[in-house]
């Protein structure tokens, strides 16, 4: 299955959690392959393991068993430092609850991934570039007027667009979105999906987790997760 056309592959992913005395097996051998430039939606009922799978694909969590390859490189073979760089440079996360830092303003939140990968001196050296890039993203996302606002001063849709800007800051190859419209009304959610479609048309690979079939239909391919496995394998 491995090849240059696939940006991300997973083979036999297993994951279980312990809840008190019982062990809950969430993923029971998930095989998945995502091509470069694809817009994939992973759907499934609540508790089906969609978010868990997304976290494993983004190296926020580790599988009990199985392999995740990004551009052919096995994530489980990489050091903690390499995984930090993977989360910083290769993937961008968008969460249902936005997860912006309340203490930072919009511009600082968007610049966060650029700041995270650089020392103070390196940051000062590239600050102009980073602010230019953040300004460009703010303009594309219609947030230029909000650059100095704090997250609590923004609407839900605006916060999610800030989260998208943050995810795109380091120009990652892959966007991972976990229920990006789950906390928004349908009109605002639609606006977010339009942003995703626009990004995908520009070549951005996106994996989006959702429980909403209508949202999922906006993606190029739908993968259904049920009972810990993919029902319509790629």
């Amino acid at each position: 299955m491995s090849g240059d056309e696939f940006i991300l592959e997973s083979e036999g992913i297993y994951k279980s959690y312990r809840m008190g005395a019982t062990e809950v097996r969430v993923l029971k051998g998930v095989d998945l392959a995502v091509k470069r430039g694809e817009f994939v939606a992973i759907v499934g009922a609540s508790g089906s393991g969609k978010s868990t799978l997304l976290h494993i694909l983004g190296a926020l969590d580790k599988p009990d068993k199985g392999i995740v390859r990004f551009q052919g490189r096995n994530l489980s073979m990489q050091s903690a430092g390499e995984l930090n760089r993977y989360r910083n440079k290769r993937v961008g996360f968008i969460f249902q609850f936005y997860h912006l830092l309340d203490e930072l303003n919009v511009l600082e939140n968007i610049c966060l991934p650029a700041m995270a990968s650089k020392s103070v001196l390196a940051w000062l050296a590239c600050r102009r570039w980073a602010k230019g890039r953040a300004g460009q993203l703010l303009a594309e996302l219609g947030l230029l007027e909000r650059a100095n606002h704090k997250p609590y001063q923004l609407s839900g849709g605006e916060r999610q667009r800030v989260a998208i800007g943050r995810a795109l800051m380091n120009e990652p190859k892959l966007l991972l979105a976990d229920e990006p419209t789950g906390n928004l009304d349908s009109a605002t959610g639609n606006g977010i999906l339009e942003v995703f479609e626009k990004l995908n048309k520009a070549g951005q690979t996106i994996i989006m987790v959702t429980h909403d079939e209508r949202v999922a239909r906006r993606a190029g391919r739908i993968i259904t997760l049920a009972d810990g496995r993919i029902r319509n394998p790629a």
């Binding site: 926020l60 930090n84 609850f97 997860h99 830092l101 203490e103 966060l112």
Partner: protein, 449 residues
């Protein structure tokens, strides 16, 4: 860069942080004030003891004394490390105030005031002729009389502000001083003939050394008179001690070692001579060792204070721990977010350690500033409290303390600041470590609940 921004924003936005800063500031304030005062008192006490004894004392505790001191003083005078030497007679006596029914046991010290002032700070302790020891034993009211210098607390009483009543010259008071002269073998020299030697002296000056035990029990007498009184002026003359002052560039221990070496040579050369066995009781001690019994008590108090403030420090560490535990437990979402954008465990540790250092630094600065201002005004504050409420930190009629020491030591301040930051880092260590070790998925999931 984000660590600096976030640490400073956490500091400004989380009001609970102010409690941690306040705890550190209060702790630093207390430590600065008490340590400065205590260190000042101890250093002042040490300086006074140094001034009282000179650099080194070659002497004996025996009331019999030791002989051949003139020979040894000649060797010392020829040594390149010695600036000056002064022989002294030390014994106990009964002081009787003539025409008054007053007897008091005193320690008598026989000295040559000029020689003794070259070695010690004796001249500076004189109350009426401060700095001029040449006439210390010459009563101003009659230069032909035999004078004596009383420890100032024997001569007059301090008021509640630790000040002695001003008098232009000493009153004409005659004292009888009686002591038991001893033979070289330690027997009573005048057995069967009244036992005591008595001599009349006239009050010529008072000595204010600042050492309570000295000032309330010592009477300085002319060297030859004291030697006669104590029975040390026989064919083989004896003394109790030789006080030595080293040249300015000589280190105390080096000087003492050289003096001890000279003494050993002298002892070998003197072995076999009459009364030479008395030399075995003689020790060579630095002023610190000579006054150890008195200094040690103060140093012990200082050590106890440091231990007590160690406990205060532990309390501060605990407060910082609680505050940081609360702050970090409210910041789990941030930790998850930071890790999702690539922050490492070390970055999280750096972020919260930086935050803790900031709390420590700010707390220390506030505490130091407050402590410094308080110390600057401490004597005025005490004076005001005494005038309005009769409150004094130390009862000056009992304690030989003038102004409260308030000279701030830059080294101590630096050490306190470093300790405050270290205490904050220690307090934040466990919560920071827990934060760094947390799995991003768990923290993000917890933030969604």
């Amino acid at each position: 860069m984000y660590k600096i921004i976030l640490a400073s924003r956490y500091l400004l936005k989380r009001h609970i942080t102010y409690f941690a800063i306040l705890a550190v500031a209060l702790c630093v304030f207390i430590v600065v004030v008490v340590m400065t005062v205590m260190t000042g008192l101890v250093n002042d006490f040490k300086d006074k003891n140094h001034s009282f004894a000179g650099d080194c004392v070659v002497g004996t505790e025996s009331l019999v004394g030791f002989p051949y001191y003139e020979d040894f003083m000649s060797s010392l005078a020829g040594a390149d490390f010695v600036e000056a030497v002064s022989p002294a007679i030390k014994s106990y006596a009964l002081l009787t105030v003539r025409r008054r029914d007053l007897n008091v046991g005193v320690e008598i010290v026989g000295i040559d005031p000029i020689a003794h002032s070259r070695v010690t700070g004796f001249a500076e302790t004189l109350y009426y002729r401060k700095g001029d020891a040449s006439k210390a034993f010459v009563p101003g009211y009659d230069p032909n009389l035999l004078g004596c210098v009383l420890g100032i607390d024997l001569a007059m009483e301090r008021d509640s502000r630790s000040e002695y009543p001003y008098e232009a010259s000493p009153a004409e008071i005659a004292f009888s001083i009686s002591c038991f002269p001893l033979t070289a073998k330690g027997a009573l020299a005048k057995a069967g003939a009244g036992l005591v030697n008595t001599q009349t002296f006239y009050y010529s000056d008072a000595s204010h050394s600042g050492l309570a035990r000295v000032d309330d029990s010592t009477v300085y007498l002319p060297f030859e008179q004291a030697q006669l009184l104590c029975g040390m002026a026989g064919p083989v003359k004896r003394i109790s001690a030789i006080h030595i002052k080293f040249k300015p560039d000589v280190k105390l221990q080096d000087g003492c070692d050289k003096a001890a070496s000279l003494w050993q040579n002298f002892k070998r050369q003197t072995a076999g001579r009459e009364q030479a066995d008395l030399l075995d009781t003689v020790t060579v001690q630095s002023w610190k060792d000579h006054r150890r019994a008195f200094i040690a008590a103060m140093e012990k108090e200082q050590t106890m204070l440091i231990v007590m403030f160690g406990f205060v420090g532990i309390t501060t560490v605990f407060i910082v721990f609680v505050v940081f535990y609360m702050i970090i437990s409210h910041k789990t979402k941030d930790i998850g977010i930071l890790k999702s954008v690539g922050a490492s465990n070390a970055d999280i540790v750096e972020l919260f350690s930086g935050f803790a250092s900031l709390v420590g630094f700010l707390g220390a600065c506030i505490g130091l500033l407050g402590g410094w201002v308080f110390l600057l005004k401490i004597n005025q504050i005490e004076k005001w409290l005494f005038e309005h409420f009769q409150f004094q930190l130390w009862d000056r009629t009992i304690f030989a303390i003038g102004d409260i020491p308030n000279r701030v030591d830059a080294g101590v301040l630096l050490a306190i600041t470093a300790s405050a930051i270290a205490a904050c880092l220690l307090g934040a260590l466990v919560p920071t470590w827990q934060a760094a070790a947390s799995r991003p998925v768990e923290t993000l999931r917890a933030a969604q609940l």
